[in-house]
Structures are given as C-alpha cells and as structure tokens.
C-alpha cells in the first residue's frame, strides 16, 4: 500500500477578487521509501499542494479531494489527530530556511520542540537528540546554541533537515530546499538528503523547478502546470524523454554542459505563464504549446498512459489519437531554439 495517496486534490484560494484555483485535481501515489519529484514553473501550485498535505494552508484556502496518509484522510482528521500526525508522520523542509526558522529562538529549542510536543523525549533526551541530529546533517553539536542568523544559508537548510528528521517521520516534504543556495552548497545539501532518506528509509516529496536536480534525486517525477499534473513517470525517462511539450521545454532549459547541441543555442518556451484566475479553456497549456492542435483550445486533456508507469496530459499521447509522427519526434522538430516573438505566443 502506498504511504501517501492523493485523489483528485484541489485547492482554491478565496481572495478579494474571486477564487484562485491553485491546484486542480491532482492524484498521486507515493510508495514507502520512494522519492517523488514535483516540478513546474512558478505559480503552478507546487507549494500549495505540499502545504495541503498537512493542512497547513491559510484559512482562506479550501481543499477538496482525498489525502490519504497511511490510509487515513488528512482532510477529515480532527485537530488532535492532525497535530499528532504533523511532524511525527510527515515533516516539512521549507522553501526558505531563512524564514522558516524562528529568528529569536535557539536552534536546539526549535529542533527539540517537536520532540517535546509529541512527547517523544524528555527535555534531557531531547537535548542529546538534538546534538545527534545536528551531527547527522554535518553540523557540530555546539551549533545547537546558535540562533538562526548566526548560520549561513546552507547551515540553516541543514538545520531544517535535522529538524525534519527529529521525530523520525516516514515522509519528508521538501519544498525547494536548495533553490536559494549556491551551487556548491546545493550539491552538499542534496547529497545529504539523498544519503539520509536512503539511510532512514524515508519517503520524500521534493519540489523544485529544476528538473535536472529532481531527475538526479528522485525515483519518480511529476510535472505540474497550472495546478495540474501534466506528466508523471520515472524520473530519468521524464527528464530525457518527455512526452508533454511543457516537460520537454523544462528539461531543455537545463543544458548539459559539453553537449554541443545546446552550445550557443538556449532553448526556451515562449509566452506567459497562465493566470490561475483566467485559465485558458481546453488544455491550459495550449496557448504556449508549440505543437498544439486546433482541438487543444477547447478539448479537455487528461492524464493518459504514456508508456510503462508513465502518464502525460497531452493530445499527442492520447491513445486513440492519430499521431502523425512519434510525439517526441514531432516535438523535436517544432521546438525552436530561439524564442519566438512574444506577440505570437499571446
């Protein structure tokens, strides 16, 4: 049985000017010990989805669907149960550790806090545990006495990871844990996460817009666009051989150094990201899609199987659709290396 099972999860923010459908019907499965990467451009609903998993969204967000954590629906839990689940079953590593740590409390207090709250340790044990955790993430134990601002960005992110590990959760949700970090530090942190989840047999949901990072970290990838998952599958395959034109553009945006194909030929995707309040009809990607068919403008797309344990939401993978060429091929031909002028894409 999968550890986490999302069924048709949708999140809508109520704002003054209307409703923002930030996540629109996402279904995902995560097996125990598996690492799932969620990619997508800014505003595609990645963080919203992650926060919805533990009902951490602000009050003006409405969540529907089912979020089954170990078979139990998070959305219908009572507060007491939810509090017990939080951090003990699933913990979160936030986007900016800078802000996710309380600036006026010492590291040790913050790491020990979930242990104490969940009654998993006495204060003395907690203190010892904090030292252990810090050492696990490669920080000296005396750092426990520090305040967040005394640490560098990489160190803070490590503290966040140590904190996430505190209650030995079965799932860690990492929302862009390295985006704000430098290349070298990023490599350090990723290596750390990789070794920790392997060691402790923890499931991971990792969010990033950097497909290449996700590809190297995760077993499976899900690519989101405008609140929906548009493609999912084993990470290597999705990264190297995307079926959805958006995933393709995303993976092309990260050139392989040394690959002559991308030398002096940056690839990108024209057009503007969609406005979640005014989504295009049909396939929401069609205005930017280089291989859009006329029917894309009105016909709903859904996730179709696109190979073994792969799905993609594109007419080009629709089983019954007549494919003039292989979808990959077609895309290859039509994706232009130089961006098209903006007016065309609008």
């Amino acid at each position: 049985m999968s550890l986490l099972r999302l069924r048709d999860v949708a999140v809508t923010y109520r704002v003054a000017s209307g409703e923002v459908p930030a996540v629109r019907g996402v279904s995902l499965d995560l097996a125990a010990g598996q690492a799932l990467g969620v990619a997508g451009e800014s505003g595609s609903g990645k963080s919203t989805l992650a926060m919805a998993l533990l009902r951490l969204l602000p009050r003006d967000a409405r969540v529907t669907g089912e979020i089954l954590l170990d078979g139990e629906d998070v959305l219908t839990m009572n507060w007491g149960r939810l509090r017990a689940v939080r951090w003990a079953s699933a913990s979160v590593v936030f986007q900016g550790a800078q802000h996710a740590l309380n600036p006026v409390r010492r590291i040790e207090q913050q790491i020990a806090e979930p242990l104490l709250v969940h009654g998993m340790a006495t204060p003395a044990e907690a203190r010892r545990k904090v030292g252990e955790l810090l050492e696990q993430v490669g920080l000296p134990a005396w750092r426990a006495r520090s305040y967040p601002h005394e640490l560098s960005g990489g160190q803070r992110q490590r503290v966040m990871i140590a904190m996430a590990l505190a209650c030995s959760p079965r799932l860690i949700i990492a929302d862009e844990p390295t985006t704000a970090l430098d290349v070298m530090i990023q490599a350090q942190v990723l290596a750390l996460i990789r070794s920790l989840i392997a060691e402790h047999d923890i499931s991971l949901i990792m969010i990033s817009h950097d497909l290449s990072v996700l590809a190297s970290m995760c077993d499976r990838l899900a690519v989101m666009y405008a609140g929906r998952v548009v493609e999912s599958g084993p990470s290597g395959e999705v990264f190297r051989d995307a079926r959805h034109p958006y995933s393709l553009a995303l993976s092309a945006a990260f050139p392989t150094v040394g690959d002559p194909a991308s030398r002096r030929a940056p690839k990108g995707l024209g057009g503007d990201p969609p406005d979640p309040m005014h989504l295009p009809t049909g396939c929401s990607f069609h205005p930017r899609c280089p291989v859009a068919l006329p029917e894309c403008a009105f016909q709903e797309v859904e996730l179709w199987a696109a190979g073994e344990s792969r799905t993609a939401a594109c007419v080009h993978v629709r089983p019954e659709s007549v494919q003039p060429a292989g979808p990959g091929e077609g895309l290859e031909k039509q994706s232009v290396p130089v961006a098209r002028p903006a007016e065309e894409s609008q």
Partner: protein, 293 residues
C-alpha cells in the same frame, strides 16, 4: 496624452475599488467630507456676527432648544455656531501643521535615506532626538516662547511632530533605495536629484499621503491639548471651546452640551482622519497588502 489619462483614471478607479473595500475607511471618509464641507460652507450659511459676544442673543449657558440646537455658551452664543466656526480653525491648524510636519518629515526622511555618510548620520540624530522628546512638552515650550497666534500653534505642532514621519519615510526610502531599479537608474546615469524625485518620492508618496492623514488627526488632538494647557491660537477652535467650557465651569454648572459638543466633534473628526489614514495605508502600502489571512 489621452492614453495616460485613461491610465490614470483606471488607476484611480482601481484605487477606489480597493478603498471601497475598507468599510471603516468609507465611514471615515464620509465623516470627513461632511466635516470639511460644513467647515467650507459655514461662512456661506451662517453669520459670523453670532460669534461676537456683544451681539449674542441667547441666555447664558442655555440648554439646547430650537433656537440653539446645541445650547449656548457662557456669553449666550450658539454652541452650534461656534462649533461650526471652530471646525474651520481646528481643521486649518490640523491640515497646516500636518502639512508642515509632513514636509519636514518627508524631506528629512528622504535625504536621510538617500544620502550616506555624515549627512544621513546628522539627520538621523536630529530625527531621533525629535522622536524621543516629549513632543507635547516641546510644543508647549515653543508656544510659550513664541507667544500666541494660529501660526505659532501650527509651527509648534508641525515642528515637534515630524520625526516619526521622517523615520517612516527613511525606512521606506531605504527599502526603495535597495530595489534594483535604483541601481539600474544609477547605471543609466541618473543623479541624486533624479533618483530622489523620480523614484523615491513617488514611491513614498502614498505612505506620505496616508501618514499625513493620520498626522492631521494627531495635530487636531494636539491643538486641543495645547489650548487646554494654555497655548491657544486666539481664535475659536474646538480646543479653545473646550478650554472655554473648562474656564467657565460648564461641567460643574451642568452645561453638558458645551463640554460635549466640541469634544465629540474632535473625537469624530480625529477618528475619521484616523480611519481614512489607516484605510489609505492598507490600500496603498504594499507591505500590508500581503497580510490578509
């Protein structure tokens, strides 16, 4: 340009749409508009002769009646009439001293935020000095030294109340100055003047506007307090009326209308300004926009 005009109008209507959502701000604006309108209309619809004690027609401290809806004062003048005329002075002092305070505060704040080194240090020192000093006490000293008169009161309030504005504007200036577009502008060859007037000023302007509104409110309170403590402008203002009611024992002789009318007017108008100021701040200050949860 026509298109700019349309732009402005849409910006204005957007502002209005946002503002309309601030219910308290709407109430405030309504009261304000009413108060200002009354103050402006007063000379048109009433006769200032009624303010002349030698021509007063009422009995002394007469209770409200049809002739005198708000009763009369110690000389038999209509309290309503005095309240109306007093609003002119109170509002004038409020506006003018707020204007003075905002001018000093904005100029100092922008300069302190824009320039580095000793200019900023000196300005900041002075600002801090004025910030912590008991402004009312300082205003009283100023008023006592400079002697009475409307301009003295305006000066005393204006000169003592700009510091918090300057701090606010400086903080905002610093945050504007840290924005990349300032760097970009500098890289385009812009000088201090260009940056301060084209980038910083327009960006702090909404804040200045909101703060001015709040400042008017505190200036009106300050005026009444100064009047009570003995530094009045020599004209009939709400503060002056309250002082009069105190001097002539209105409260002990049961002339509640004389005590309450100007006092409630102060409360209402100050409140209105405050509500408007807060609403403006909420609409115009991006820092507060995010906090809607």
């Amino acid at each position: 340009m026509n298109i700019t005009w349309t732009r402005r109008r849409t910006a204005l209507s957007r502002f209005w749409r946002d503002y309309r959502r601030q219910r308290a701000g709407l109430y405030g604006a309504a009261i304000l508009i009413a108060a200002v309108a009354l103050a402006l209309l007063t000379p048109l619809v009433t006769d200032p002769a009624g303010m002349d004690v030698t021509r007063a027609t009422g009995a002394k401290m007469a209770a409200p009646s049809l002739d005198f809806p708000l009763g009369t004062d110690e000389s038999g003048r209509s309290v309503l009439l005095m309240t109306l005329w007093g609003s002119r002075v109170s509002l004038l002092i409020g506006f003018m001293s707020a204007l003075l305070s905002m001018t000093i505060g904005t100029v100092t704040g922008i300069a302190a935020g824009h320039f580095r080194g000793w200019t900023s240090a000196v300005l900041l020192r002075i600002t801090d000095w004025f910030l912590v000093l008991p402004s009312l006490v300082l205003a009283l000293v100023l008023a006592a030294i400079l002697g009475g008169g409307t301009s003295t009161i305006i000066l005393a309030i204006g000169v003592t109340s700009w510091a918090s504005t300057a701090r606010l504007i400086r903080a905002q200036t610093l945050s504007v100055e840290a924005r990349p577009y300032i760097e970009r502008s500098r890289a385009l060859g812009a000088g201090h003047w260009h940056i301060m007037t084209r980038h910083v000023l327009p960006n702090v302007a909404p804040l200045v506007l909101a703060n001015t509104t709040l400042q008017v409110a505190s200036a009106i309170v300050a005026e009444s307090t100064l009047a009570f403590l003995g530094a009045d402008s020599g004209k009939v203002s709400w503060g002056g009326m309250l002082r009069g009611s105190y001097d002539w024992g209105a409260a002990t002789s049961g002339a509640w209308w004389y005590v309450l009318a100007p006092g409630l007017c102060i409360v209402a108008v100050v409140m209105a300004f405050t509500l408007c100021g807060r609403a403006l701040e909420a609409v115009l200050n991006p820092r507060l926009r995010g906090v809607s949860r």
